[in-house]
């Protein structure tokens, strides 16, 4: 018996010994800015002996598993100095990295354009990058920077609309701190809703995006606000031609809670109060955030965004747009490997247009959205992580309301529950990401909708309560990548769906006359299958990104001939659904030198609609612009001086031009070519800017930039206006001749701009 227990003890010791040798421990913690204690997203934590690398998540959190021993961890991030820490791993442990920012007079001014050479999945944008890019009016703008990425199309100057791989502009998810933004632009689209001062990081997905993201089929632009300086007070002020900005941040309680507030107001309307120009738009927006550490493992964030736009277009109309959102988030480190995020979001968007003529009509559009979401990140090992989550959204849509019930479109309500899960595993230079999202779209509550038959509303249906229409969309997503030395090959497949769509058939890109619809018995959700293959190469200071894609879209809608959307209670009868397909490829090359950065990209894209009830053959989508070239150069001239240039070229967008007319009872009736069979002239322009970064003082820093938008004054057409007119000719002016005029409207050419910014600390 004694011998038996001896053997048991020995066996147990051996097993314990082996276990001790085999057991990994979790090294987790946060990456923060050393000055402000602001978390750093996307930082890389690398251990050389085991060749292990992990990335900090959107809350700066990272988790790594190592066997017992002594290691050197290296933490690096864009815009920050690399830091190393030696750790003795004998148990689960906590590590905090505090990275000092790069300052201009010490290190490189040139900011790396990671989005052109990083993996195809996530394109990162930093605030510094946004600041240095030439911008339309000297106002740093994240949307304008995204528009310079390969394959991102826009139509016309000034607009913030993006067309990504065959998707329409309302098929991009654009959000700030998890709140969807419906009005992405101010001032006719010349300024976006993103105040660059409030941004911590921006991530853009147009290839594969995690099943966590749903509700839009084309791309995701996910912006995260700054959290506020936990250590000391600081602020900044900025003045440019278009805006005046101010920020202030600081600790509420040092190392525990902080706040951040950023506000902007337009300046052009103030300037022009002294002129007789009346149709100058105005706006303001405010971003605010409070960040509170409950304890080492729990944090709470409260953030909000308010924006208001006013524009007047006498004698026709004036419009008021309001965007208000609030996000409450709780992040909790349940275990060293388990990270839970729970958020509640409420947002309100409304856009009211008043017609100034004697009709005194109004047009009100709005979306109220309430979302609750919880997701659990499980960092199983250095090479494996799992994400699971649940999301529930309720939206109240006002597609269009006038002062007259008979001319209003009925309000709609949408309930959208979703489940999602994603698994990422890396083995032997292979990375597999696969997941699933299941979303249901339920119409519920009080609403009136019309049965549509052959383009006519033939019956009215009044719903009073409960769920009265449902769709279920299953969205599998897969991404596979293989690292080969300095390069990576990848392939992706995603299925995405979207219930809410914006309808606006204005020929003006910046028109506020739109309406937001959701799926209904007449309109199925839009669904897309997206296939892509990609190749990236990073060798020394040269990066190459090449990607080809194919997208198949179901239930794509387009407007019938003579569609009338405004004040039309039967607006659903004005659209038809069919298919669309998009295909193309994108190539980008980037070279980062000691004092400069050069990047060039070319993309080819084709987008065709196939909607038999509109045309019995395939036709070009309204944003089908096949060729797209972008060249960017950023050069450090002297210690504090740098300059940058951006040249863009794009094929002319489609148009439908009239070629003649006939008369019907004395009225001229235009004869048009087939829809979208004509093209506007090609688009190209050159922007340049010069930046000066002042010598940092103890309590403040200042920088200044001047630039010119559209240096060589290319008159890129916004739209054409066709008209016939009568001309009296002849020596005695007795002969009436008829002439054909085409007026071309363009955004101003050769527009100078400036920005002056001072930051206090």
């Amino acid at each position: 018996m004694k011998t038996f227990y001896k053997y048991i003890f020995l066996l147990t010791s051996v097993i314990a010994g082996f276990s001790a040798i085999a057991q990994d421990f979790s090294i987790s913690g946060y990456v923060k800015d050393s000055a402000s204690s602001e978390v750093i997203v996307g930082a890389t934590i690398y251990e050389a002996t085991t060749n292990t690398a992990v990335i900090s998540n959107e809350y700066g959190f990272f988790s790594m598993r190592l066997k017992p021993g002594t290691y050197t961890l290296e933490c690096s991030s864009l815009g920050a100095k690399t830091q190393t820490q030696n750790v003795q791993v004998a148990d689960n442990m906590r590590v905090i990295f505090r990275l000092p920012s790069q300052s201009y007079d010490i290190d490189k001014v040139v900011v790396h354009a990671r989005q052109q050479t990083s993996d195809v999945v996530t394109k990162h944008l930093s605030a510094k990058q946004i600041e240095l890019m030439p911008s339309t009016f000297g106002v740093p703008d994240v949307i304008k920077v995204v528009q310079t990425m390969p394959g991102i199309k826009t139509i016309g100057d000034g607009t913030t609309g993006m067309y990504v791989r065959g998707g329409n502009r309302d098929q991009n998810m654009i959000r700030i701190d998890e709140a969807n933004i419906y009005n992405v632009s101010h001032m006719y689209g010349y300024v976006s809703s993103f105040n660059p001062d409030m941004l911590n990081e921006v991530r853009f997905y147009n290839s594969y995006f995690s099943p966590e993201y749903g509700g839009r089929i084309s791309s995701v632009l996910d912006a995260q606000m700054k959290e506020g300086n936990l250590n000391s007070f600081s602020g900044s002020a900025l003045l440019s031609i278009l805006t005046a900005n101010a920020t202030v941040e600081g600790p509420i309680k040092k190392d525990v809670a902080s706040f951040f507030v950023a506000g902007r107001r337009s300046t052009l309307d103030i300037i022009h109060k002294f002129s007789d120009i009346v149709n100058v738009p105005a706006f303001y927006d405010v971003n605010a955030k409070v960040n509170c550490k409950i304890n080492d493992k729990n944090r709470v964030f409260l953030s909000s965004y308010i924006s208001s736009d006013y524009q007047k277009y006498p004698p026709f109309l004036e419009s008021d747009a309001l965007n208000v959102s609030g996000t409450a988030r709780w992040i909790s480190e349940l275990r060293p490997k388990l990270f839970l995020t729970t958020s509640v979001v409420a947002s309100k968007y409304s856009n009211k247009t008043n017609f100034l003529d004697s009709t005194k009509r109004t047009w009100l559009v709005g979306v109220n959205e309430y979302t609750a979401k919880s997701k659990l990140n499980w960092y199983i090992s250095n090479n494996q992580k799992v994400l699971v989550g649940v999301q529930s959204s309720v939206s109240q849509l006002t597609p269009g309301k006038t002062g007259d019930v008979a001319n209003s479109i009925s309000d709609m309500q949408l309930f959208e529950p979703s489940l999602f899960a994603n698994h990422t595993i890396s083995v032997n230079n292979w990375t597999f990401m696969y997941g699933l999202r299941i979303t249901q779209y339920h119409n519920f509550g009080e609403a009136t909708w019309y049965t549509i038959d052959n383009g006519l509303a033939i019956a009215e249906n009044k719903e009073s309560s409960g769920i009265w229409n449902s769709y279920t969309c299953v969205e599998p997503r897969v991404h596979i990548a293989k690292k080969i030395k300095d390069s990576e090959l990848s392939a992706s497949f995603t299925r995405t769906s979207q219930s809410m769509q914006s309808l606006s058939n204005s020929k003006l890109n910046y028109s506020s006359l739109e309406t937001w619809f959701c799926s209904s018995p007449n309109l199925k959700p839009v669904e897309a299958e997206n296939f892509s293959v990609g190749y990236t190469l990073k060798k020394k200071n040269i990066g190459l990104l090449a990607e080809a894609y194919y997208r198949n879209i179901h239930n794509q809608i387009d407007y019938i001939d003579h569609a009338y959307l405004l004040a039309n209670p039967y607006a659903e009868s004005q659209v038809k659904a069919g298919k669309a397909r998009a295909y193309g490829f994108e190539i980008a090359v980037n070279r980062e030198g000691e004092r400069n950065q050069i990047s060039a990209s070319y993309s080819f894209a084709k987008v065709l609609y196939d909607i038999p009830e509109i045309m019995d053959e395939q036709y070009r989508a309204p944003y089908d612009m096949p060729h797209d070239i972008k060249l960017q150069v950023t050069q450090r001239i002297k210690e504090r001086w740098s300059c940058s240039a951006l040249w863009v070229f794009a094929s002319g967008r489609p148009g439908t031009f009239s070629q003649g007319y006939y008369e019907y009872k004395g009225t001229k009736i235009p004869i048009y070519n087939k829809r979208n069979s004509d093209s506007y002239p090609v688009y190209h322009r050159l922007d340049v800017s010069l930046h000066y970064n002042g010598k940092p003082h103890k309590h403040y820093e200042q920088n200044f930039s001047i630039g010119i938008f559209n240096v060589y004054g290319r008159k890129n057409i916004l739209y054409y206006d066709f008209a016939t007119d009568y001309a009296y000719i002849g020596g005695n002016l007795t002969t009436i001749k008829e002439q054909y005029n085409v007026k071309a409207y363009y955004f101003s050419a050769f527009v100078p701009n400036f920005t002056y910014k001072v930051s206090f600390k």
């Binding site: 009709t359 006359l513 235009p670």
Partner: protein, 342 residues
């Protein structure tokens, strides 16, 4: 610092305008794809016993119309010639009977210039028949164009508050003083009709204007919008303000407060077949689009003319009645306020 502030001020002022415009080079725009000239046919056969008319014309290509910088007169068209087509053989069949049309050359005077207008008039007077198919046959330039329309029976003249009406003023001889209203939206269960409102000049107005059948637009443009002073001369007040540019506005036929007791309005109601209703609806959208930047999709109007023709042939049942102020007020329900023209 002062010069810096001044520089900033100058830069701000420099930005004074967002957009510019210029006359585009036509060659950049005219892309002759479907450019074959088309025959346009228009005509309404009514249930009123009279000589019926059909117009046959030819489309104008914009390449014929642009004004060249050298002022070469060969580069653009006479405004009023070469559009109407002569030499056509026109006939209408209804209820088993065939009616031939003859070519008419009408001399007209427009702003002191003499022009000839060609159209086709039925040899004999006849009336369209409700609930019957009407068939038009036009043989011209070696091609045959046909069109059919079934004439719906028109209901009595009423003003239904569920039928919002929109006003469209057509120009042209004989119809210039008629304000014509069409239903704005297409709703399958709703009867489609055209309402015409024609102010009958009072004796005082006739004395002022003479015996000529003056164009209503001319009355408005010469004397301004209907006003209380003008009310004493004629009775257009019922219609409210109208636009000399064929504007579209909403009216309330019941709002007759500006009418005198002796004023009379001749109201006509014409039925529209569903294809004709859709044609008119699309015509309106086209006209609205030409006025506003946030308009509809540029697209061709529907047509029931065969063989590549454009235009529309319709058959409409008509009822007419004269109303005085009290009859109109008691008949109409309030469907909104009179509004100014857009």
């Amino acid at each position: 610092m002062k010069s810096f502030q001044y520089s900033i001020f100058l830069l701000l002022i420099a930005f004074t305008s967002c957009t510019g415009e210029y006359d585009e080079d036509i060659s950049n725009v005219i892309q002759r794809k479907d450019s074959e000239k088309t025959i346009a046919i228009s005509g309404i056969i009514t249930s009123e016993y009279s000589k019926q008319t059909i117009v046959v014309s030819r489309s104008i290509d914009f390449s014929e119309l642009y004004l060249s910088s050298d002022g070469n007169p060969n580069k653009f068209k006479d405004a009023f010639t070469n559009k109407r087509v002569g030499g056509a053989k026109v006939s209408v069949e209804v209820a088993g009977k065939k009616y031939d049309f003859k070519e008419i050359h009408d001399s007209i005077n427009y702003y002191g210039m003499a022009y000839v207008e060609i159209y086709y008039e039925s040899v004999d007077s006849f009336a369209g028949v409700p609930n019957q198919e009407h068939k038009l046959v036009v043989e011209v330039e070696g091609k045959t164009y046909t069109a059919t329309d079934v004439m719906p029976q028109v209901s009595e003249i009423t003003f239904n508050e569920n039928s919002p009406l929109y006003l469209y003023l057509w120009g042209g001889k004989g119809s210039g003083d008629t304000a014509t209203c069409y239903p704005e939206y297409l709703f399958g269960q709703q009867e489609a009709f055209i309402m015409g409102f024609r102010a009958i000049p009072t004796p005082e107005a006739k004395q002022f204007l003479g015996e000529e059948d003056h164009n209503y637009n001319e009355l408005i443009s010469n004397f301004g919008h209907p006003s209380y002073s003008f009310r004493q001369l004629a009775s257009p007040q019922l219609i409210g303000a109208v636009s000399e540019n064929s504007g579209i506005t909403r009216i309330n036929p019941g709002n007759s407060e500006n009418m005198d007791l002796t004023d009379t309005v001749a109201i006509s109601k014409m039925s529209c077949s569903p294809p004709y209703e859709y044609f008119l609806y699309c015509l309106f959208q086209n006209l609205k689009a030409s006025k506003y930047d946030f308009g509809e999709m540029s697209s061709n109007l529907p047509t029931n003319i065969s063989n590549g023709g454009v235009g529309f042939f319709s058959a409409c049942d008509v009822k007419r009645k004269d109303f005085n102020k009290w009859e109109l007020t008691s008949l109409a329900h309030s469907i909104g306020n009179i509004v100014e023209p857009r």
